[in-house]
Symmetry: C2
Subunit: 198 residues, 2 copies
């Protein structure tokens, strides 16, 4: 099939998508060839619409089609607590708990010197500017428990502490329902360190 | 993110692609949101172009942008031997061997009563009509070695034999470079049945 230019181009486009190798890209391309005109229009319209309509919330940098996202727009949310996450998908995870009533701030990434991503490449500035009016009591750092997520949380907490804001971090420990036998040493020792009175 | 209509629609579109679950579809959607205008145009153009330009070869039903595919158009190919395959990707596999000099016929599927796919839903008619002018000496059945591939090969060979055409089937056996210890019983007994004099 290497001679069909338009097929090759489509396969290359699909290969650019995250975790898509040659075989998957080929399958996706053959899937497109099997669609009828309406289905192709539906796919390309969805791509164009999402790309055109979705941008970041003017307050928390979450994704939205409006000026503010539905969480920042909700008067019942407690805007004195800000949970700082790496990306919009993390918000979905927190919302599923139905526990958290504060608001969020999306960094859109973490600092990663190895990949040339510094503090100015993620939405730290926007977070700082939200804290200037003294209505925020607590900032919960909820970046991923990875080396880069940790470093980013530490960096931000050092910026915020001089401003007199309480900065907290998610608890580390063994996941609920997991098997201790398979817990890694670091998680287990963090769970020991953070042990609580029964 | 469940509230962002255009994002949900895009995720649903991606979920329709083969072997794409919710997590992958979400990753693809976020990938699209991260693209700039030119990159989005490049993706949608590739989809539209492939969909508009590619159709099946008027002779062998392989995919092509022209009236005939490059194999049917090649005068050096031996058009007296037709290798019957399930889909265009199988042709790529045969071409990689650089051994086969005949032509192909693409069925675009196999008969599958369980899924309601009968002989009229795949390109059997087109194969029969190619055999009417007495120039074809041999038809090699190269459908997949699955139950459905086998049944389709048997069905077609029963149609062709009364026409006095030699119908052959790919050899079964242990794959080159594999470990006999892990060969399944069926493959191994087929390899025994097909043993050849050294």
């Amino acid at each position: 099939m290497a001679d069909i230019v338009s097929l090759q181009r489509l396969i290359e486009e699909f290969r650019k998508m995250p975790s898509v190798g040659l075989k998957s890209a080929e399958r996706f391309a053959y899937y497109v060839l099997g669609l009828d005109d309406n289905q192709v229009k539906s796919l390309t319209d969805a791509i164009n619409n999402a790309h055109e309509k979705i941008h970041t919330c003017s307050v928390c940098c979450n994704l939205t089609e409006d000026e503010k996202c539905n969480i920042c727009n909700n008067p019942k949310r407690d805007s004195s607590v800000i949970c700082v996450v790496e990306n919009p998908r993390d918000i979905t995870a927190f919302e599923r708990t139905h526990e958290y009533r504060g608001v969020y701030h999306v960094l859109h990434g973490v600092m990663s010197p190895m990949n040339g991503i510094g503090p100015n490449d993620i939405r730290i500035k926007e977070l700082i500017s939200r804290l200037s009016d003294d209505t925020v009591n607590e900032v919960i750092m909820a970046t991923n428990p990875t080396a880069e997520g940790e470093a980013t949380a530490m960096y931000i907490s050092k910026l915020l502490k001089p401003m007199g804001i309480k900065v907290t971090r998610l608890a580390y420990g063994v996941p609920v329902g997991s098997d201790l036998e398979y817990a890694d040493e670091v998680t287990l020792s963090r769970a020991l360190d953070g042990r609580q009175l029964l």
